[in-house]
Symmetry: C2
Subunit: 344 residues, 2 copies
DNA sequence: ATGAAAGCGCTAACAC
DNA sequence: GTGTTAGCGCTTTCAT
């Protein structure tokens, strides 16, 4: 059906081997045959079959990207960044979503390996550190984006969550708040441990010891979870005057709760999120948020991964894994009580 | 490196062919050897190499999904739906983003064909009708989601845009508005022609002839474009009292403009969007919107595509292409002036 | 500088 | 029932 290298060879009156050599610039080919082949190629509209190439080369120029949930704008940004550099460097993405289920994640990883991906980028792994390390040891190029696996021996790019959380809380402190609650995701995820730690740390430095009810680690991270948490907090006998949400999605849910209970933001409740997804600019109350730069993480993660893939190509040696930590920044909008601006 | 079918054959003391037959259940294999093979498989942890399989079968169990912009929540939903059914039916998605550039789109299509995808789903094509038809005639299974190509001879799933727009405008009319502006995307896209037509039609039926300045067809569809359009409209000497935005993203931009100019929604300006992305619920003003059901389109599109792929497998006959039109529904939130609810 | 041949991992006739 | 063989489209020694 499609035109193959054999067709080109025939048309140019040479052997497949020569065509291949010419196409890949891997050996010398005489000027004259070069031209004949080039002519045949464009004449027939030949394009190499990547599958066949992959089988022979053991290289697919395909990268698996596994995210928890495509619907979450944070991942959407990350995917965008990843796709961008993948495309630029000649790779295409195999996308899969886990819905946060570790079991589904293993299935996906297997499927990807069977498809001979050159590497896998995890945006928010749920696998255990050792499983990821095992994967890497097993020869799979891996990179972790956004989620931190302290003991996994693979490349990762993440944002400094402790620092980010402190940025957020300190800002709220500067606005005069003394009663700042925390709403975050499951503590089984390192990122949330760090954000919680940052919150606690900033408060401690200000000599504040928050009541236990002001610390909420939920097991889900969607808007609805934030909504419920918001209601819970607002109905407390002594509700907080401000909330640091460890995720923008959570913050949006909290806004919804305020809306429902007729509490104004930032008037009656100040709010700062984490991620700074673009949508925050047009949310119920324009959201001040720690910039987790999903886009950049997506980009960097893929750069790291592709670099490793292409390096391994030459030298299958174990190179030291890099851990890239992005510095967070505060994207100030109005939900904190400010008018606007950016701060570091 | 990885374990191959040959290893399994060796371990089970049979030939590769037998292993293959057993694995694919394509021929009878004696109970005894079945067991021996099964044992070898699990012993060695064998998993077939899909690339090799693909080369032999000319089937990759991979589907290309091309979207305009992953950052747009409408596409995010669509991707989510697509990924869901792809995974359920044993396919994985090759994702690529065009940024709305037709040239990039062709490049992507070529890359995907080289990778032997079993089919391509376009969420918002920019290619011309005849190019898409040519693709289909050339043996590529194609489905169009969301965007309408009147003359392309391929499967498509779309939402009835004329009807959706009427739903929106009529609702605004019922709220007593007589001055309803339209803000939409490029008229080169059929969807926007339809939404414009629906707007005009509904107004005409109400005996209203809108002034020319109240009809804005922009060439971009991002939030910023909506923002600019909103400012333009609000600064008119006789600004509209309501706006129908042909896309939620555009509506968000308009909200931003209102916010900037201190116009309340729906008090001073009523607003209805199109798409009903989840975020509308927590936007500056909870957005009433025509439900374009991106998620469902993503699902249906992939079902259509996979059905066709698997049908073609058996009978390469040209089957009539299906055009699936989803009925829009109005997702009522507050930006129109209502309190809440749903209407058809 | 070019070609012949083997091999990547799998499937599919066709024999036995 | 099971094995032999050829072939999918490409790359890559190894000769020439």
């Amino acid at each position: 059906m499609a035109v193959t290298i054999t067709d080109v060879a025939k048309a140019a009156g040479v052997s497949k081997a020569t065509v291949s050599k010419f196409l890949n610039g891997t050996h010398y080919v005489s000027q004259e045959t070069k031209e004949r082949i080039a002519a045949a190629v464009s004449e027939l509209g030949y394009a190499p079959n990547r599958v066949a190439q992959g089988l022979s080369l053991k290289r697919s120029h395909t990268i698996g990207l596994v995210v928890a949930n495509i619907g979450n704008p944070f991942y959407a940004e990350l995917i965008r960044g990843a796709e961008e550099v993948a495309a630029a460097r000649g790779y295409t993405l195999l996308l899969a979503s886990t819905d946060g289920e570790p079991r589904r994640e293993s299935t996906i990883v297997n499927a990807m390996r069977q498809r001979q991906v050159d590497g896998i980028a995890f945006a928010s792994v749920r696998l255990a550190d050792r499983e990821v390390t095992a994967l890497a040891k097993d020869g799979v190029n891996v990179v972790l984006a956004s989620r931190h696996l302290p003991d996994a021996e693979v490349d990762m790019v993440l944002v400094d969550s402790v620092k980010g959380a402190k940025l957020a809380v300190n800002h709220l402190l500067q606005h005069g708040h003394r009663s700042i609650a925390y709403v975050g995701g499951p503590l089984s995820i390192a990122q949330f441990q760090d954000r919680l730690k940052g919150w606690k740390g900033a408060l401690a430095e200000a000599g504040i010891e928050p009541p236990a009810m002001h610390e909420l680690s939920l097991d889900r991270m969607d808007v609805e979870a934030g909504h419920q948490a918001g209601l819970r907090l607002l109905r407390l006998e002594n509700p907080p005057t401000a909330i640091f949400a460890a995720t923008d999605n959570l913050a949006f849910g909290i806004m919804q709760a305020c809306d429902e209970m007729n509490r104004t933001i930032p008037g009656e409740l100040a709010l700062v999120g984490f991620d700074a997804v673009p949508f925050g600019a047009v949310s119920l109350s324009p959201l001040t948020s720690v910039d987790g730069s999903g886009l950049i993480m997506g980009q960097r993660a893929l750069q790291l991964l592709i670099d490793r893939i292409e390096r391994d190509q030459r030298t299958p040696a174990e190179s030291r894994q890099v851990r890239m930590v992005l510095q967070p920044t505060l994207c100030i909008r109005r939900s904190c009580g400010c008018r606007s601006g950016t701060e570091n």
